[in-house]
Symmetry: C2
Amino acid sequence: MAASSSLTLSQTLISRAITHHGSNHSDRITLPGFSLSTLSGRSIKSSSRTHLTVRKHRAGLGPVRAAAVETLQKTDTSLVDKSINTIRFLAIDAVEKANSGHPGLPMGCAPMGHILYDEIMRYNPKNPYWFNRDRFVLSAGHGCMLQYSLLHLAGYDSVKEEDLKSFRQWGSKTPGHPENFETPGCEVTTGPLGQGVANAVGLALAEKHLAARYNKPDSEIIDHYTYVILGDGCQMEGISNEACSLAGHWGLGKLVAFYDDNHISIDGDTEIAFTESVDTRFEGLGWHVIWVKNGNTGYDEIRAAIEEAKSVKDKPTLIKVTTTIGYGSPNKANSYSVHGSALGSKEVDATRQNLGWPYEPFHVPEDVKSHWSRHIPQGATLEAEWNAKFSEYEKKYKEEAAELKSIISGELPTGWEKALPTYTPESPADATRNLSQQCLNALAKALPGLVGGSADLASSNMTLLKMYGDFQKDTPAERNIRFGVREHGMGAICNGIALHTPGLIPYCATFFVFTDYMRAAIRISALCEARVIYVMTHDSIGLGEDGPTHQPIEHLASFRAMPNILMLRPADGNETAGAYKVAVLNKKRPSILALSRQKLPNLPGTSVEGVEKGGYIVSDNSTGNNPELILIGTGSELEIAFKAGDELRKEGKKVRVVSFVSWELFDEQSDAYKESVLPAAVTARVSIEAGSTFGWEKIVGSKGKAIGIDRFGASAPAGKIYKEFGLTVENVIATAKAL
Amino acid sequence: MAASSSLTLSQTLISRAITHHGSNHSDRITLPGFSLSTLSGRSIKSSSRTHLTVRKHRAGLGPVRAAAVETLQKTDTSLVDKSINTIRFLAIDAVEKANSGHPGLPMGCAPMGHILYDEIMRYNPKNPYWFNRDRFVLSAGHGCMLQYSLLHLAGYDSVKEEDLKSFRQWGSKTPGHPENFETPGCEVTTGPLGQGVANAVGLALAEKHLAARYNKPDSEIIDHYTYVILGDGCQMEGISNEACSLAGHWGLGKLVAFYDDNHISIDGDTEIAFTESVDTRFEGLGWHVIWVKNGNTGYDEIRAAIEEAKSVKDKPTLIKVTTTIGYGSPNKANSYSVHGSALGSKEVDATRQNLGWPYEPFHVPEDVKSHWSRHIPQGATLEAEWNAKFSEYEKKYKEEAAELKSIISGELPTGWEKALPTYTPESPADATRNLSQQCLNALAKALPGLVGGSADLASSNMTLLKMYGDFQKDTPAERNIRFGVREHGMGAICNGIALHTPGLIPYCATFFVFTDYMRAAIRISALCEARVIYVMTHDSIGLGEDGPTHQPIEHLASFRAMPNILMLRPADGNETAGAYKVAVLNKKRPSILALSRQKLPNLPGTSVEGVEKGGYIVSDNSTGNNPELILIGTGSELEIAFKAGDELRKEGKKVRVVSFVSWELFDEQSDAYKESVLPAAVTARVSIEAGSTFGWEKIVGSKGKAIGIDRFGASAPAGKIYKEFGLTVENVIATAKAL
């Protein structure tokens, strides 16, 4: 009885989903439910290989091709249904046990998930890091139980049955959103919406770039796809438009994105806030767009869409898959209530009955288990075949193979750091942004995996690698990436590049103040342990006339407070080189380099080694670790501290000048080292930094004084602002004397 | 000679711009230059009122209508040319004098700027705040000399000749990017790309909303347009796609955006990073799109496009205006070199010669001056007519007029704060996000200008105003705004709403961690003095299972470091009410309320008055301002401090418990007050807050101890994480004892 009424409801839901999209021809619709499952996936087979022209549902201007329909694989359909329902119930059961999580997406996306992991993707469950694997990103990360279920079925060691049972619990491998650092098999860390699809653009870029550099006419050693599932939420976020605009521009043909078009977001029907035509927008972005109208049971439609996507080599493909969120739940499907809460035991029972699922929670039927078990040997074979291919490649292309190996392994070439330039006080004064470009160009020769660029400020950020051209659609082997004015997408794309292969070292650049545009991506770099180098120039009021909208104030403090990221503010050439050394060596955390627009002298006493300790003595005329005064500066203000120290010494004072280039690195030093730089007994301390004084009490102590800027900046020549704001040698001296 | 060769160059440039866009029919092209100026604007008049169907230049799927062509106004064309060249040279001269700035955009956009300010817009130069004025936003804010020149010509007191001459200098009214708080006539603060167009969406929303609430069939008291100029940079930013998607969804028919399609960005030709079809994307977003192919001299095309835009009532309009950046400069036009640097005296001379401009720098020819002089009396008349209309309105609709007046003036209704709910320790424990909803709903009755909503988390952020429906295309009088998952656009739209009218009080909401997505907009709220209330829930690891991607850590610190913003973290009902009181009263700065997901008890001792002081004593058993120990907590951890205080008092300790709800407000108190709360002599201090300890040294001192979280969070039930991270009564007691 329950089953029959719920079938009626489900039928209503599906037909609503379809009519809602304005389809003007009547496909035969299959109904969910175990008893009917043998029908599903066959119903529209008759129209095989026909490209159907359908009306788009909103404000459409041109035709979108529906997926061609064709059976690609001869797996027994009832087993496919069973596998898909296994995925659904693993998700339902895990969320129910945790009483927390998002069952709706896994229930709706189980068909595309099944087809991807069981039929399409090439991977080796026993080595989630096999280099040439297809990449999969769940951009709608809240639906992570979809991915955990798939990894479990595929035989990944990271998601055993006990892991599913400890979903969202302390210390488990199955956290509330996919985290690459917790769960091998998850490529990236998603959850914050839109990040995943941008990561996927980075993964696809990495593939295209490395393939162009290392593939040979007789050996396509790099050749994988990047698949991503994104939802309505991802589509609304600006970051996804930024990244997808670039993907279209670059023609990333091996990027295939599934848009889970379920018309439900947390606040209800997407009609309340999201009525744009996504199809049209993606066409504008230069993507190939396919619409799978029945994502719930139209398995062959999904398969055909993937085949069509692969056949389009010069454009990324968006497959809009219309699904029912919470598919199978008789009372909650197609509503926001199934999005982010456990179904509740009553509805779980009803769903079991509706989908004809007689099993205990977390049960994987034997035939499903047996069906999926082939992926372990198949994966081993795929990797072995690739290894053999690589051996052949290595024989023919020794140099390229060695370089590629270093990229794949992430091992830094011996002596790479010797490439970094060195400076003396006699070296000409220069802006650290220019010194940064010298470092980047030097490192590019030593580090084959260094690639990057700027958000349309290459000539201001000084980030061009002079010996290379631009990575573009038709020149993908080049190493300068042009991101356009898309900071947020840039950061997330770099996360994807960094996580593609350990030896890829992406850098990206904009004005320091515009880290605000990409902060969510930077935070994920830190969380997901992606070695991205953020080259952030124009790092203070020193940029002058552009004014307060362009002048960072609180930014240094804001990143010093962020976990697992290095905030570096070098003062001159040697410190800039040191900052790059640190950034490259920190393989599991990102670095931000704050660099000056204005010229700075090369100071005696600065060093690469000093930078590695975060804070260190630059000059001192005291003995016995007992100066009368400690002056502390960072970046462009170290020069001011240095000069003030000289002046005060002329008056007979014992003054130490300390460079505080990275608070995080200093914190990690031994107590003895810290005491040797900042002896506890010396409380007369003055710091100077052209930014917020927030946090400086920790360094200067309650008896010391921090000189900084606790207001917004101003539009005027830089020297004038420095003077008006009291960032001067005179003020440091006066402040020191007042202590 | 120079003129003739440069004309040839200009011709090439224009013809390139046109063929580049794939036009397949040959318009007659007019050439720039003083001598030919009488031709311009007439050349294509013959095709009057014809809607031309042209091929779109990239991947187009449907037709875009070119602007209908019609002469709207009979101003002498040579005078128009002269006025446009005046605008160009004021920009050229100011940038040249400052040796800093962006001449390219003003030179290219001068025609549309002239037409807007001289022919189309309704404003009163002597009262830049006249309520019913048309709003103009220069989203490409670097081109601010365009706007300053126009304000100068129009007769605004904020931009006199001496202001133009002190462009980008300390203390001037003409900073490097438009700043509403410096220059009356600038509606918003732009420069960070994409913000302005999103502000404009907020301005247009405000107009539509207020018109729907207050207009009567016999009196359209609110009726203005919002115009915006945005460039390629704005178009690439994700925020603009977010905001424009909403503008399309809401059908903001009185929003007219000019897209300065000049194909140049800082890094060179936009071809290197920006090849999407903007037309197609905007059609997907639900906009009406018009293409003006000759934005350099096609004045009638521009005029006709504006007329067409106004005729489309149910959609916003994008007028793509193809221009030449730096138009008129014989050697630098159409190149990035004219974007962001002074032309240099040689090229200034060449440009003067090329455009036939014999005048001294900063000269406004008499006939141009005389032509523009009518705007002062006309503006006065417009305002006087409106005032008369309002008087009529007031007679008929007393109540509405009174309410509207309070919105226009920004005066808070007497006793508004009495609407705020009060709580006692006996009130049931509740999450501050729920208490926040009680406040919002109470305030909505008392404050007619309170409008807002959430980025698709209304039911989690608890932001719905229960007595109102949704602001939608067909129900614009309602006060709940549905932003979709578009945090960045949401923040910038709220800035626009706040700056539209002093009495509009926008609030917006998401999870606290996702302030990262909208930080650039929040910073502009702070800079531009927009009273936006940021309702940020799920403010710590207390959100539990969603895990580290959703758990803020560094966010409190990061906003405490930001100038001119209040970071408030209330602990219970009374503090939440206090936070709202503070937020409403601070008319020139935004507030962020960090609110809990989890239930919190109403503590004895908390108060609205306490919140107004930022930090205050909640409980104390010491006398003579001499406790043995001070425990300090914020938000959800105040309860822990409170309980630890109780426990320690049982052991005979003299313990003070302090709530530190807002650091900024505490900083603003007198030294005597600060000493009364945190006596300098009492160094035994322990703070507890579920966030980064960064900055807490300032409060607890070098002998105190800050308990917090200096790592990323974890996915687990909230109670478990609190325990694992040591955020417990036991740990506070143990830490206090160890001091």
